[in-house]
Subunit: 194 residues, 2 copies
Amino acid sequence: MIYKENYCPFTREELLERIRVQMSDKRFNHVLRVEKAAITLAQENGVNEEKTSVAALVHDYAKERPDSDFINEIKLKKYPTDLLKYGNEIWHGLVGADFVKIELGISDEDILNAVRHHTTGAGKMSKLEQIIYVADYIEEGRTFPGVDEARKLANEDLKLAVAYETKQTLSYLINQEVLIYPKTLETYNAWVAN
Amino acid sequence: MIYKENYCPFTREELLERIRVQMSDKRFNHVLRVEKAAITLAQENGVNEEKTSVAALVHDYAKERPDSDFINEIKLKKYPTDLLKYGNEIWHGLVGADFVKIELGISDEDILNAVRHHTTGAGKMSKLEQIIYVADYIEEGRTFPGVDEARKLANEDLKLAVAYETKQTLSYLINQEVLIYPKTLETYNAWVAN
């Protein structure tokens, strides 16, 4: 894809290079698969493909940074201090979007929200946010139980895929007895609960 | 039991009569079974038995009131307005404690918190609060899957029973796809998550 709009100050190849140096080859290949899945969903849901490509490529930009980077940013930007109780899994999206903005010069708020909410979801999500949230879950390298059902729903109705992923994820986290960030419950209450 | 302290302005018999008129016979019998289970837990955990009896007997005092009573109280006392999105299941404890205080003249904050938190739990719960939360779950009339495990844990370690009940309840609610009050997640994060 040749970038023609202003979502990103780089060509796609330049952006890829900046992302590649931030992460393992394994994660970089995951990022490429998320881009592929996201562009398919963008085509099916009438969302700008270039914007979707940029959001997909940067969604895990901060995933391999040291905890100290996030802790500094949380304190510097005066995020709610309870965020400090969580870890990389929550920080790399919600706080990682700051690094995408500062270091990659990407300032489109829809793209940044897609990065912020790709793990926890949110009560309100734009179509782009829904696409990145779902593409991260169903990209072709994923093999967990339920992924085929998620893929089927994503092809039928993006909102149903968001609901399915949210319910599965929350159930999984409880089963694992791990700390759950309140935004994940907000997503469940908005997208799953009747 | 003969009440000798000042937790309640009535004798136990007078209190029973005031509770009986607020609810069906079926619920009244549940209340008596919760009292029985709670007193056993109080004896095992060194908690005042009279206080426990009062808390158990009043825990469902407001369960059969019309929604309009709760809605009025939520507006009058300026509770967070998002509480209005929930229903009797959440209101009868959190808001019902107000009616216990006003109409029964019970002002002990530990007893009122036990009423407030008997359904959702809370991040911090006194021993009395834990006892009412667990007794409501394990009273001898309960027959749902897992109740025997909950009874076993309650006899061994009250805190483990709180954790078990919280995890089971949250999983059940998600499976049912019903709205979950954020305090329930607060209880999970404090008592279940590692």
